[in-house]
């Protein structure tokens, strides 16, 4: 595995006190945490800093890490022969280290899980929870979908030896999920130890934008462009909805900006009433008019008493 210099990442000396380690971490966490950072590679930097902190803040892990010796950043290393047994990170068979990251080694520590057979041991341990970000299309969110997910996870056996294994999950996403929602998949997290129950899987959903429909919770919005005569005289238009086309009656005298409501044609979900679809009216004019059309418009202008700027007034009191 590749060596990472945790002290260098935190910008501290190898002899730094626990307080100095903590202060260094807090400063860098504030600087690089994606929720508050303005730095351009914040997420990657934060991950690095957090990994360094989680190893160096614990006295046992820090001692174990120091025992790996000093190496160049990125150098390929293997823990010394006795390392695993001494620090109880499992059997330490050489083959196991190739596909692990440095951080995987230390993740096994703590909580009584490691330390080999000396682990206090027969109580079952619930598996860890996993969290994954999942992106789905508008259609998948609207209708529901069955997804096949597969991500690599760390699993620990009885002795605490870590292995990277694939973790395939087939999930049924219920219909009507919205962007930013969290779903829980019970029992599909990490394996439990000693017959402990498995952990859960949490899915952070992102729903891709649709080219035409905009979602606001369970309500949907779609732009409805109308020609001026359609808005004045009223008309019937064919409107797309996620569930198919419908005919919408546009009343005479419809104004720009009005929202025509199609009840129940928004996003539906099993445990709540369906939202509505709103057709958001825009009056659009042709950019080019033939001479004949311009003649007609001039006639209309001359024959109409309509004043669109009546409310703007001439200034001063009447």
């Amino acid at each position: 595995m590749k060596y990472k210099d945790y002290y260098a990442i935190l910008g501290i000396a190898r002899s730094a006190s626990a307080d100095e380690v903590k202060a260094a971490y807090r400063k860098l966490a504030r600087k690089y945490h994606p929720d508050v950072s303005k730095e351009k590679d914040a997420e990657a930097r934060f991950k690095e800093v957090a990994e360094a902190w989680s190893t160096l803040k614990d006295a046992d892990k820090r001692a174990a890490y120091d025992q790996l010796g000093r190496h160049a950043e990125g150098e390929d290393i293997r823990p010394p022969p006795d390392w695993s047994r001494h620090f109880g990170a499992g059997d330490g068979a050489a083959a196991g280290f190739d596909d692990l990251d440095l951080s995987d080694l230390f993740a096994a520590f703590g909580g009584g899980a490691a330390r080999g057979g000396r682990a206090a041991g027969h109580t079952p341990r619930k598996g860890s929870d996993y969290e994954a970000a999942v992106e789905i299309s508008f259609d998948q969110a609207f209708h529901g979908a069955e997804l096949e997910l597969d991500f690599g996870v760390l699993e620990y056996d009885e002795e605490g030896t870590a292995r990277r294994v694939p973790h395939p999950v087939r999930v049924r996403i219920p219909r009507g999920v919205t962007d930013g929602q969290t779903l829980r998949v019970p029992g599909r997290g990490g394996k439990g130890l000693r017959s402990g129950a498995p952990g859960d899987l949490y899915l952070d959903l992102r729903v891709r934008a649709h080219p035409r429909f905009r979602a606001d919770g369970q309500d949907l919005y779609i732009d409805l462009p109308l020609a001026p005569w359609e808005a004045v005289l009223g008309t019937s238009v064919e409107l797309p909805t996620p569930a198919g086309k419908v005919m919408l009656k546009v009343p005479a005298g419809t104004r720009a900006g009005q929202r025509l409501r199609l009840a129940g044609r928004g996003i539906a979900r099993a445990d709540a009433a369906a939202g509505d679809l709103y057709a958001s009216v825009q009056i659009v004019v042709p950019t080019h008019a033939s001479e004949r059309e311009r003649e007609l418009w001039r006639e209309l202008a001359g024959g109409s008493g309509f004043d669109p700027r009546a409310d703007l007034g001439q200034g001063g009191n009447s």
Partner: protein
Amino acid sequence: MTPETVDALWLDQSGVYSLAELAAMSGLAEDLLRELVGYGALAPVESAAPAWTFGASCVVVARRAQRLRVDFDIDTHALAVLLGFVERIDALEAELRALRARLPR
């Protein structure tokens, strides 16, 4: 071999959980959860009831609290304050999304 298909469950709306379940799902200790309720950062369905129950939206808040606590290494009081600000950010983002949905393209 892929295991059989399982249903993903709603988290934000329905479902009620005990304090112990909330602790298990968030990774926060029960004592810490009690403190957060005391600070007003988490609201049980009925605070006067002898055994608290929490709506599923509390699971989202509790999980976020755990992440913030670990990421920023902060004490409970600061955490409660931080959760309040995050709630405001969530509300603002929701309002933005709603307004953007109504704007024509």
